[in-house]
């Protein structure tokens, strides 16, 4: 039995546009012994649009019902793969520390919370609770030779003061995680820049401009893939990549997998868990390049090892010859 057990909130997009994130998350957590109990009959977290337009009390009330549902099966700590959901759950808990605000929320839900709750991202749990060494141990197929650009998006670590996860300007947790899978992690200076968020629908010029910049940089760095942790980022960069290309006159074809998909691949959890077929831009060419590079790296390593051995051998020979010629009790 695992000591790591969390309530799990998949988020609405997990049932549709980010199906592959949802599935790979479950598979990876299972493989690492992180037990997930889905919050029963969960509702929308009250994410961005509700929080944007209505009122914090309403969005927090929706979040509060999720915590109440978790309580009904004895769970206090909830993790979610979606940074947008995370932010709203997190903000709701933070705001409800204020008694009057809490009373306003309870006036809407009519279900006061009985327990102290916490919420974290799946990424945070994997990096902090599970740890990169356990992840490294679970790797069956290292991503050796895969050049990846880690893209965190803007929501995951902000606001830094209250999220208390990683560095808000230069997060490295995803970098470390991908390194432990064996991938070559590129320095990606725009790792927390906004991709255009939900403006893909109502304002068509936003995503080509913001996400376009990210794809341009990834291409400039010769990345095989941009690795993401957010359904909104993934949708903008992957699904809308053709729209971006059309608007900007670019010809990018950069796959945008979730980090959990790459973990599932490295752990060898099978096609269903990996879910690469769900991506709009295929991962296949990236993997092909990876294998080519891996072969080259191995060749170099073999040659280097051989040189090293030869050098060590001759040095040892010299040494023994010297020792033999030196008078007994010699030295300095």
């Amino acid at each position: 039995m695992s000591s790591q057990h969390f309530g799990y909130f998949p988020g609405c997009s997990g049932l549709g546009t980010s199906l592959e994130y949802e599935r790979s998350t479950r598979a990876v957590c299972g493989a690492l012994g992180v037990a997930l109990t889905e919050v029963p009959d969960w509702n929308c977290c009250g994410s961005s649009p509700v929080a944007h337009t209505a009122d914090h009390a309403l969005s927090s009330a929706l979040a509060s019902r999720i915590f109440a549902q978790a309580e009904s099966v004895g769970i206090a700590d909830i993790i979610t793969p979606c940074p947008s959901c995370l932010k709203n759950l997190h903000n709701a808990l933070r705001r409800m520390e204020d008694p009057l605000f809490r009373a306003r929320v309870e006036a809407l839900t009519q279900r006061p919370l009985r327990r102290a709750h916490t919420t974290k991202s799946v990424l945070q749990v994997l990096v902090e609770d599970v740890g990169c060494s356990r992840i490294r141990d679970a790797v069956r197929r290292p991503l050796k030779g895969l050049r990846v650009a880690p893209y965190y998006g803007c929501l995951l670590t902000r606001p830094g003061d209250s999220m208390k996860f990683d560095n808000p300007e230069n997060p490295v947790s995803l970098d470390r995680l991908l390194e432990s899978l064996g991938a070559e992690v590129l320095p990606f200076p725009l790792k927390v820049e906004c991709c255009g968020a939900a403006f893909g629908v109502p304002a068509r010029d936003v995503v080509p401009r913001l996400s376009g910049k990210l794809l341009d940089l990834a291409a400039e760095l010769d990345a095989d893939a941009v690795v993401v942790a957010c359904p909104l980022c993934q949708m903008n960069l992957d699904l809308r990549q053709d729209q971006i290309n059309a608007a900007n006159g670019t010809r990018h074809s950069i796959p945008v997998p979730y980090f959990t998909q790459l973990m599932a691949y490295a752990f060898g959890l099978g096609d269903e868990a990996e879910g690469f077929a769900k991506l709009a831009v295929s991962m296949a060419p990236a993997f092909a390049r990876m294998e080519g590079r891996a072969a080259a790296i191995e060749r170099q390593e073999r040659e280097a090892a051989a040189r090293e051995a030869k050098k060590a051998g001759s040095a040892a020979e010299k040494k023994s010859a010297k020792a033999a010629s030196a008078p007994a009790g010699g030295g300095l």
């Binding site: 560095n167 300007e169 230069n170 320095p187 200076p189 725009l190």
Partner: protein, 652 residues
């Protein structure tokens, strides 16, 4: 006792919220009070004259003035009563300004509280006795801590006035930050050309003893007679033998060592003479880079040294010195700008600090004065300067303005154009702060003549794009976001108190502010004094300042020390502890609590007793509060005097 009471209006400062006439009227009825009046400004000449008149006319034997804090004017009034023939300790002050009028608006309550405070002062005064100071000889030698331009100025002025000066510098050479600068604003004259000769003067002055690569270990004693311990750190080179020939630095194989003097802009050897004009010009080994210390194999410098000065087994040396006064001139350091992850947090080689840029501009720097990018050695065409990095920024806990960045950035933009005529400089600023002689004209010149583009706004992000850096900022005057491609980004990193400043302050028993800057005695009237007698401040250790201000303060601190040590004898403060030998049981508790080691054991008729070393006692009163017998009493603050005040207050 015949007591006179004077209630000061302090213009409207006190009279605005205290009925001074009423307080004076109430005070007239207090015990022993024979004269009571209110006065517009007690501290003014007519105010003081009136006190003296009253003493004579009413034959007063004690005076109470109710006015401001005693910190400023107690000495003033003590002198006044002394002029009228009274002992200066037959005077008491009630603070009805800081403690009453400035903090409350209720006239009635304020008037009542003022009367209570005067009642307390009168009660205490009735038990006051005449106290006479003693005199003790002073040591006519001054310690200057820090060999930057402020310390150098203080040392030279004091030495020229005939005082012996001991200078302690943490680094292997004096010169401080100014020695690292290429040019100085607003004249654009060569920094080392004007500083260099003064550094040589320090080395050659017969009255100055220099301890470089040294730190103050401990300070004891008191004004006029401080006892200072100095740790001379091992440099592994016997400086009495080293001639500064530099052979060792040429032959040292560890050529890739971090170059501290050049702010890491170049590399140097592990045995190093910091820079050509170094004072003293002596070599020293940086152990963390030395092959012998790292791997146990090398020893080249010892072999090559013509005078046999290298000594790997050299240890730190401790030196003790007696001084009469101390000048702290420990300067500043740059704040750790790498907290700005949005500017790369130190990951991008072509994002550098202004001080690093000085080294690139300097002819004695690692590039010989050719401006080259650290990453690829190319000459930059587009140079972006970002102001207020670590200044005026609450998010990194540096809310203050560093004061000199606007000016040195303007200078650096001018120098950039001088070095690279085809280059273009961009300066992102929030406000241009240039209130000095010729300063604002200078910041106009950089824009008008040298065509630097000044953009009013902060920079939010710097990131590499190809071999360039994208700088994304705002132009708030246009009201837009702006971007500029840069080859080199220079951050005007703000200053902070020098590393370890609070630690030194504690040794010197002076106060420091929340940011580690040393506190002056009074922000306007005692800018170089501290609240510890005999300890003075010069330069940026008191608050960031530019070269002219640092030099001015160096001279000011020297003047203060010269004044102090011009006397052969100093008066001791008679407000010190005294032992009633009859009551003392010799338990020694006072000895263990005394922070100044001013109490020692003695014997009287075969019984153990204690006695106070009068010149060492600072009058803190800890012994008084500790003594189980009430045998040790602080003069002027005896138990009886304090209790009289309490009783005056708690009459009901």
């Amino acid at each position: 006792m015949r007591i006179g009471v004077f209630i000061c209006h302090c213009g409207s400062n006190i009279a605005g919220t205290v009925d001074c006439a009423s307080v004076a009227e109430q005070a007239a009825a207090f015990p022993d009070v024979v004269f009571s009046t209110d006065t517009l400004y007690a501290c003014s000449e007519p105010g003081q004259d009136a006190i003296i008149e009253a003493i004579k006319e009413h034959r007063l034997t004690g005076v109470v003035v109710a006015s401001c804090t005693p910190r400023m004017h107690e000495p003033t009034f003590r002198r006044a009563v002394e002029r009228a023939g009274l002992n200066r300790y037959l005077f008491e002050m009630a603070n009805i300004r800081e403690h009453v009028s400035w903090i409350g608006k209720d006239m009635q309550a304020n008037t009542n509280k003022s009367a209570e405070l005067v009642r307390m002062a009168v009660a205490k005064l009735r038990l006051n006795t005449e106290l006479k100071p003693k005199f003790f000889p002073v040591t006519k030698r001054v310690l200057v801590i820090g060999g930057g331009v402020a310390g150098i100025q203080a040392a030279l002025d004091a030495a020229d006035a005939g005082l012996e000066v001991v200078m302690v510098e943490r680094e292997p050479s004096i010169g401080g930050k100014m020695a690292k600068l290429d040019k100085t604003f607003p004249t654009v004259d060569c920094s080392s050309c004007i500083l260099g000769p003064r550094m040589v003067d320090v080395a050659q002055h017969p009255n100055i003893t220099l301890h470089a690569a040294s730190e103050v270990e401990a300070v004891s004693g008191y004004v006029g007679n401080f006892e200072v311990t100095i740790r001379k750190k091992s440099t592994c080179v016997d400086w009495s033998k080293c001639t500064g020939c530099g052979l060792c630095t040429e032959k040292c194989p560890a050529k890739k060592s971090y170059d501290r003097f050049n702010e890491g802009m170049g590399h140097t050897s592990a045995i190093v003479i910091p820079f050509p004009q170094a004072i003293p010009k002596k070599a020293g080994i940086e152990k963390e880079h030395c092959r012998l210390f790292r791997t146990g194999k090398c020893g080249v410098c010892a072999k090559i040294c013509p005078t046999g000065a290298v000594d790997y087994a050299m240890r730190d040396q401790i030196v003790s010195v007696k001084v009469g006064g101390i000048v702290a001139a420990t300067g500043y350091d740059l704040m750790d700008w790498t907290v700005y992850e949005e500017y790369g947090g130190g990951r991008y080689p072509d994002v550098i600090t202004s001080l690093q840029y000085e080294r690139l501009l300097s002819a004695s720097g690692p590039t010989g004065g050719h401006v080259k990018r650290p990453s690829d050695g190319r000459e930059p065409q587009s140079v972006v300067f970002i102001q207020c990095v670590g200044s005026r920024d609450c998010s990194v806990d540096r809310p203050y303005c560093s004061g000199f960045c606007c000016m040195y950035t303007a200078k650096q933009a001018i120098l950039t154009k001088d070095h690279l005529p085809d280059s273009q400089s961009y300066v992102f600023y929030m406000d241009i702060r240039s209130p000095g002689k010729g300063y604002d004209e200078f910041t106009r010149r950089v824009q008008e003549e040298y065509r630097a583009r000044y953009i009013r706004g902060r920079v939010s992000l710097v990131y590499p794009k190809g071999d360039k850096l994208m700088v994304r900022g705002a132009d708030t005057l246009m009201g837009t976001q702006v971007e500029v491609e840069a080859d080199l980004v220079v951050l005007a990193v703000g200053g902070e108190a020098a590393r370890g400043a609070p630690h030194l302050a504690e040794k010197l028993r002076i106060s420091y502010d929340a940011y580690g800057f040393f506190m002056e005695g009074h922000p306007k009237l005692k800018p170089v004094e501290t609240n510890t007698a005999g300890v003075f401040l010069a330069g940026s250790c008191q608050g960031l300042k530019d070269i002219p201000s640092s030099v001015a303060q160096g001279s000011a601190a020297a003047a203060k020390v010269i004044g102090l040590l011009s006397r052969d004898m100093l008066e001791s403060d008679p407000q010190i502890a005294q032992v009633n030998a009859g009551r003392c049981i010799g338990c020694g508790k006072c000895i263990s609590v005394c922070p100044f080691k001013a109490i020692q054991e003695t014997e009287a008729r075969g019984l153990p007793k204690v006695e106070v070393i009068e010149t060492v006692c600072q009058g803190c009163g800890v012994c008084n509060a500790t003594c189980p017998q009430g045998a040790i009493q602080l003069s002027h603050f005896t138990d009886n005097q304090i209790l009289a005040e309490v009783e005056a207050l708690c009459r009901f």
